[in-house]
Symmetry: C2
Subunit: 414 residues, 2 copies
């Protein structure tokens, strides 16, 4: 079936979904969770096919691990759906309301987008997560996963569709696009009018392609060249701990720190314990002259390093002469994801927060906290690094639009 035909079916399903009550949607989420657990054997069989093909194709152990499912992982994926059912329904929330001077009653109400397209890579859990979040927010989902997970995703979506239908909602609320064809991404990007929003989740090049070529409105996610700035007034041991956590607590996430800026006034006291901590944690350091001067293990930093999202045990480090220089560096190399300052100065914190242009600014906290789960959203479809519509972690409300409802009694405009 063509993507356009799938999108048309999604539109029809979306009409019913938009009218579904929370009770019905939550029942569907529970049915989806139960079905995943009940039909675990067929899911694992499909996953085994993907894993065998992946090994054949020489995928790395890390990628194979992310692809792999077992009964415990499937149970975890099912639990995430049950947790979504417990979250409030964003649809129908009155965002703003008043009675106008002429007596008209104005209400701005959350409504679903309609049809949401999601392009993502590797992990099969995203398939279920995205389907669940879309269903809870009243949206039909068009899922375009990775070809390496094609069999797993097919099995998962077959189970989900049966459960959705069993709960009295249209199965076309959840559809998988052909992952083996590059054309399916192209068709999805051009399906303006049928698809309301497209969310690419994945590497920088995928996101750039979608942003540049899509006529469907896009929410950009995920690229994070995040900085930690250690201010002149920083508590040195706190700064070491936060930087180490931001860099190493998990290497491959978009909120991981990739660059460290150190105020010259604390460089002498801060850099020695910091570089020692990096060495102990196995982090390769690319530093400017003033950093190199502290350790033979530091590699000379390049322009490219400053612009790189390593997603690995590497970090670029520069000494700056002022908060101003730190802000300028971040403005030049940052991707607008998460920037952190470590300081005891309220003035420095206030200035950094005001001047840094990013989805999230951390004061004396690790960059790793920019996360829908950490923020208490309960569900997350990605982290937006754009300014339009949603910025930062996107939960259920970010998957909705609004509608003004204006009620009168024969009101005419004079």
């Amino acid at each position: 079936m063509s993507v356009v035909e799938q999108a048309r079916r999604a539109r029809v399903a979306a009409e019913a979904l938009a009218l579904a009550t929370r009770t019905t949607k939550d029942a569907a989420l529970h049915a989806m969770a139960d079905a995943l657990v009940a039909r675990t054997p067929e899911i694992l069989a499909a996953n085994a096919t993907d894993l065998a093909a992946g090994r054949e194709a020489g995928l790395s152990a890390a990628v194979l691990d992310r692809l792999a499912l077992d009964a415990e992982r499937v149970a975890g994926i099912a639990d995430a759906l049950r947790q979504m059912a417990a979250l409030p329904d964003p649809v129908g929330e009155v965002v703003r309301g008043s009675t106008l001077p002429n007596g008209l009653e104005l209400r701005q109400i959350r409504v679903p987008f309609g049809v949401v397209g999601i392009i993502y890579e590797a992990r099969p859990n995203v398939t279920v997560d995205a389907a669940g979040i879309c269903l809870k927010s009243g949206n039909a989902a068009l899922l375009r996963g990775s070809s390496s997970a094609a069999n797993s995703n097919s099995a998962l979506v077959a189970v989900l569709r049966d459960a959705v239908a069993g709960a009295g909602l249209p199965p076309d609320a959840v559809q998988l696009l052909d992952a083996t064809s590059r054309d399916s991404v192209k068709e999805l990007m051009r399906a303006r009018g049928l698809v309301d929003v497209l969310i690419p989740r994945g590497g920088a090049s995928l996101i750039r392609t979608v942003v540049e070529e899509s006529t469907v409105p896009v929410i950009e996610t995920g690229v994070g060249n995040c900085h930690v700035y250690v201010d002149a007034a920083a508590d040195v041991s706190m700064a070491v701990a936060i930087t180490l956590n931001a860099k190493t607590q998990r290497l491959s996430t978009c909120n991981t720190a990739e660059s460290l800026l150190v105020h010259a006034a604390v460089a002498e006291t801060f850099l020695p314990p910091m570089l020692a901590a990096f060495a102990e944690a196995g982090v390769t350091v690319h530093g400017d002259e003033r950093v190199v001067a502290h350790s033979a293990a530091v590699l000379p930093v390049t322009e490219e390093d400053f612009a790189t999202e390593y997603l690995a045990a590497e970090i670029s480090v520069a000494v700056v002469d002022s908060l101003d220089a730190a802000v300028a560096h971040i403005r030049r190399y940052g991707t607008g994801h998460t920037e952190a300052i470590v300081t005891d100065s309220t003035g420095a914190a206030r200035e950094f927060v005001a001047r840094v242009d990013a989805a999230a600014v951390m004061v004396n906290a690790s960059t790793r906290f920019t996360d829908g789960g950490e923020f208490g959203f309960g569900a997350e479809i990605g982290i937006s690094t754009q300014k339009l519509h949603a910025r930062g972690p996107m939960g259920l409300p970010e998957l909705t639009s609004t509608k003004y409802v204006v009620t009168g009694d024969g009101h005419l405009r004079g």
Copy 2:
């Protein structure tokens, strides 16, 4: 100067604007208003040049009237700036805030977009309005007006820039792009990274071009193929009054009704007085067979009529057999702007509101109320017909993004 160079200067100006207090911004708005009044003669001289060129080029009397300025109109434009100064500052508003279980303090705060590009036609008052709304919301404005108003806009922007500079803000907060070059629109659409959002205001073809070709995020505005649906349970005289108001109160606006759907059950009682009212108001009616049967003056309606935003004294009319058929018709031909139902039935109103997918749904009120001024927003930059970011009339908050500020005390992620 190239558009890219102007956009670069706008970015620099935007950094200062984002930090400006409400006091400073409001002082600038008052200075802009005062300067417009004080320098009215040079503005009118420039406007006279445009008007002469317009007459030479054979512009219609209506277009020339929209282009024309006099002392009274300039005073009115200045007053609009003073009214903006009186509105609350959207920047800095805490949209959401809480203390997370681990003690992190989370706040989501409104921040300006940065640089806003606006493409518009004809009327010089839009130049001042857009500059004022952008400045109040902390954004630098790149204004691309119509070539027919080029001299007027140049004079207005020169006055505004002097006033902005006099108030201690960077004059590059307000810049006019070359209106004589088509390339300036193209360059603006490709200035991703320098321009944060693009708002096209004008005809359907301009908006379509921008939506399809821009890599800068776009907020779609203004195309309105608005319907009035007269339900089986409608009060007939209210329905006639609302439809007449929606169609004729002002012909050229996007919230003007362009199509009327009549439930068959009331057609016999409603159509005679309605058609008489249209005839008296000089409105040409394009109707289906069941409408034509009522009057020799009704022209046969075509598919194209149903899809047309007349912006003139014309309307398409169809008799439908159910609310369901009305919703299906609107889904097919509507542009998601404003749809109205006239009914005394709470059930019908509830169903229409829930099922019609539009920025605004009116119950027993004229479509003409979809307007920032009528909604009490105090300022309006346009009416969004898209679902992302803003939907319906856009006031000051719709010209902002948000930023999460997370404050801790050495918080690490575990």
